[in-house]
Amino acid sequence: MKKFINNVDDFLKESLNGFGKAHSDIITINFEPNFISRKSKTKEGKVSLISGGGSGHEPMHGGFVGHGMLDAACPGFVFSAPTPDQMQAAAEHVDSGAGVLFIVKNYSGDIMNFQMGAEMYSGKNDSIITNDDVAVEDSTFTTGRRGVAATVLVEKIVGSLAENGGSLDECKKLGEKVNKNSGTMGVAFTSCTVPAAGKPTFDIGNDEMEFGVGIHGEPGRKREKIQPSKTIVNNMLEAILDDLKPEKNEKTLLFINGMGGTPLTELYLVYDDACEILKSKGIEITRSLVGNYCTSLEMQGASITLLKCDEEILKNWDAPVHTAAMRWGM
């Protein structure tokens, strides 16, 4: 394992320290229990948004704390759900009386810990669960689909509504709409290495890719030989379109997300391929996002997220945002 580490046990703490120092104009890091909050207090009457999850997906979620997005984020150990006391402390810290909306990715550990946190928090609160990963089949008897990159879009879009006075119910409703209207498919070329493990999470051949990979290096739909980008992108989009079933000329947001180890040059090439394929299917791309937003440590690979957009979604997507990892309009 080659990583910037002093001591594995201090990995998270030192990384959070650096994050806090680098973005001290936007956020504050709170330790024991760990959470990242906005530097300024939540304004009265504004619903607070709190997300969180295992670390290793940076900039998600800490990088999305700030004006127009989250009020707080609770980082767990690398790839491990945060603990209920973190959510409770974060909620007590940021709630201005309008209530707290927890944004939770659909993983058993996250669900259980957020649920307990919500039970321990005495103020008004509600939760939305993201499950945009089309690689996994959904069923009422299983854990269901994973929550992956569309969580970023949910946090941005609901964050804008909350900033503009949306109620807890309205925020939850919009979040659920964004989640329902988005689909994500991921591919990995290499594994990632969890610092505490010291070795790659899975073995993968030099000429292989994991199709439908999750954001923790957990295996996906199938192992395949690597192919030209156009073929990979086409297969990814097919899986998404099968699920989302967009109408002809439907407006969409196309989000190419890097897993951490793939350069932007490749992500833009993927964007180009995706544009061409979607255009040939009569799907209109009206907004775009390209970059490393929901990562899996140093994994090479990318995910594609397509979000069907109506006016409400577009308006809130375009609204100003000022966080460590996403900033426009202000």
Binding site: G54, A81, P82, P84, S108, M112, R146, V194, T201, E218
Partner: protein, 217 residues
């Protein structure tokens, strides 16, 4: 007939069990990690090891406390110090044990059974997993059912504990050919088959360690 009736649960009992379990888990850490990397993401073993370390480190803070207080402190430590599914589930386990009535009296075997059963029931509710879903509940639920039977029956305790060791092992091995429908392994579909569930393995090792220490006591 139940021969011994006392000393089946106390703060010191819990700490000494945690120390025993720590040794067993460390000895089998590589195997559990490999199982988790096959069908999960490899964090389970670290979570279990971290949890045990936290409980053992609590010794000085809790050794003179009444059982209920000690259990609550263990629950909060586990809940806030582990993370992941294991933290929530084991935290829930201890929290629910702490809620068992009459913990200020000496705990006999029946009462200890009642505590563990209530803990496992609470985990089942929290994780919403049942038997046959390739999780630690595949081991814990049958163990809890056996404890219920032992609690109300007249079987010799040591004989009962030997049966529990056997049940835990069989059920752990039984997860190998299951499809997973809960937890991260559920995302694998057919590919999860052929691998023992790491949570089932760690739970089985814990149960094995506790039962053996009681049998040899």
């Amino acid at each position: 007939m139940i021969t011994e009736t006392k000393g089946y649960m106390s703060v010191n009992f819990l700490i000494s069990q945690a120390k025993n379990i720590q040794i067993v888990i460390d000895e089998n850490a590589a195997e559990i990690e490999a199982l988790d990397q096959n069908i999960g993401d490899g964090d389970h073993i670290f979570n279990v090891q971290r949890g045990l370390k936290l409980v053992v480190e609590l010794e000085n803070d809790i050794k003179n406390l009444p059982l209920q207080k000690g259990l609550n402190m263990i629950a909060m430590k586990v809940l806030s110090g582990i993370g992941g599914s294991s933290g929530a589930l084991f935290g829930t386990f201890f929290m629910s044990m702490a809620k068992t009535p009459d913990l200020d009296k000496d705990i006999d075997f029946k009462k200890a059974c009642e505590m563990v059963i209530s803990g496992i029931n609470a985990m089942r509710e929290r994780g919403k997993a049942d038997v046959g879903e390739k999780t630690m509940m595949d081991v814990l639920i049958p163990v809890s059912e056996k404890l219920s039977e032992l609690k109300s029956g007249n079987k010799d305790v040591k004989e009962g504990l030997s049966e529990i060791i056997k049940i835990a092992e069989d059920r752990m091995l039984g997860t190998k050919d299951m499809l997973a429908t809960k937890g991260r392994a559920s995302f694998l579909g057919e590919r999860a088959k052929g691998h023992i569930d790491p949570g089932a393995r760690s739970s089985q090792l814990i149960i094995d360690s506790i039962c053996k220490s009681l049998i040899n006591k």
